[in-house]
Symmetry: C2
Subunit: 377 residues, 2 copies
Amino acid sequence: MEDNKKLEKDSVGLVEPKKIAFKEPLTLECGEALEDIEIVYETYGTLNEERDNAVLICHALSGNHHAAGFSKNSDKRPGWWDGLIGPNKAIDTNKLFVVCPNNLGGCHGSTGPKSINPKTGKTYGPDFPLITVLDWVNCQAIFSDLLGIESWQCVIGGSLGGMQALQWCLSYPDRIKRAGVIAAAARLSAQNIAFNEVARQAIISDPEFQNGLYLENNKIPKRGLRLARMVGHITYLSDEAMRDKFGRDLKKGKLNFGFDAEFEVESYLRHQGDVFSETFDANTYLIMTKLLDYFDPASEFQGDLVKTFASIKAKLLVVSFSTDWRFSPARSKEIVNALISAKKNASYIEIKSSHGHDSFLFPEERYTKAINAFLDN
Amino acid sequence: MEDNKKLEKDSVGLVEPKKIAFKEPLTLECGEALEDIEIVYETYGTLNEERDNAVLICHALSGNHHAAGFSKNSDKRPGWWDGLIGPNKAIDTNKLFVVCPNNLGGCHGSTGPKSINPKTGKTYGPDFPLITVLDWVNCQAIFSDLLGIESWQCVIGGSLGGMQALQWCLSYPDRIKRAGVIAAAARLSAQNIAFNEVARQAIISDPEFQNGLYLENNKIPKRGLRLARMVGHITYLSDEAMRDKFGRDLKKGKLNFGFDAEFEVESYLRHQGDVFSETFDANTYLIMTKLLDYFDPASEFQGDLVKTFASIKAKLLVVSFSTDWRFSPARSKEIVNALISAKKNASYIEIKSSHGHDSFLFPEERYTKAINAFLDN
């Protein structure tokens, strides 16, 4: 049954990751140059002869290249955006060639802190440089060259993924026809940065972090990663989503006057934190939170988004979700209003959804229809 | 100059804490009985002959008995509610006798985890029982007896303090004439509990916590306390307050591509966390977050607040703040609507303020006038 499910007509089925090696070093915003970059990625659907049906999927903070289908027959859960990517889905693999790379600095196969630094022969660890959304997009542009994709039909993503889509419009206006900027913001607020800082301090102050040299020292800062994920997770859900999902339900039906998890929401958060701490790399998490904090394309234009957007040629779809308080609808409207003032081709939709920031992961009907129409148009 | 300030006519001036010893043990909701309870407290103003002008101030999560005036001539900052308590202030010490105890389980002088357990001769530490808002109010009732105060003109507090005021109305309807329930809620939401759980896990997972025996082992779980305070502090401020106070301001005017605090908001949070970790007791913090989570007086009435409030005789003033997202105006309205349905004497005011949950600490004019009128009425 499980296997049959994966062969159902709305799934891309079993997928194999591929890897591509860069021929040249990439110079980063911080000034350092990274050599021997490798990017791991997945593709779904077929590139047409004109090579003009390619869609780039950009992942968010803790995401990776496995966006759709199943890595193994035994997988219980498909890729993180499987609800939107597949035959006859919002991002229709019958028509489109869909590409999702693991970003530079990641911990799922692309060059990152766990990779060997060719200059030292040792893992990068804490020496992996701090990268930016612009660096990611520059890296993705070289990746596009290597795939032989001159222009993307669309670059799309949620949260930090939406920021990459926006940066593509600014950095490579002639190589992107459409951009899907979903549940994102043009820059982080002080509160957003504050939550990231708590996550970072949780990791850095974990004694097992060892100044970032935990791998060399055979340690893992699990406590810090666990706390970072717990606090992050609260910001991905809404108050409403948590009320619907957990309310004040008690695991054992009554108070136990102790510190075992007694409310369901406590168990859930602990479990999320535990799973994350077993699978994610701490240095990658630190880098990715900084990357979020640093994103601010308007800073070159004294904060003026209208001027920032002047060079854009792509059509944009901006999507927000009613209960998203991490990047609220107001943050999306800032982008849309500036796009309209800059006389760009932009449409906006606010989706009613109770899943908070995580809503961008769920195939709510109005949302998937809007994306499908945007891509089909 | 500094000293003169403390003698200005709107300050209660220098204050000395007092201590009172209970003669009988107090049986708690969890079933345990605490012996030899001592409560430290401050008073401002004078108890009149009729003994009917007394106001009980209830502190919140990390508060204490020092609500107004200065403990020492050298103090730079007055008590935590000095903006509201003093001669001719909202809670007018020219007319009222104001009493503020440090609650049971606290770490500022009242019996708590740092006290000696008379049964063992050692500090309670992690053996201090989990207490509830009802236990606090029962303890305050005995404290009132010892002070010779039969009935409070008003019991008032913000946040967890407001919950105590509400519990007083329910537990001792004949001993309370007015209750000020400020920036509070009738029960915590799943999101509220989730934030408390992150704070607890930060403390408990700190290796220096030593299963709560840190004092015995000459350790302090500073890392955990620091993180707990950082995450708490984000929930006390609003997105708006943080934007106004810090925005995206950089300490050194430019990005430094490293993990030193570079945004102002990062420095601020780290500082708040550091100060707290030097001064607050970890076991007390754990107890007080649990006390918040457990508060749910309607649970005895199948969640029906109207039925819960049936026994109330006091007049209530419920106050909320526009940018408070920890206990939002909607949570205050739940209380008010139930009070009205239960035909109680209740008034409600929502104050426009940018300070988030912390707004209850600031003497905004409409707010202080509302409290003053409520007490004068």
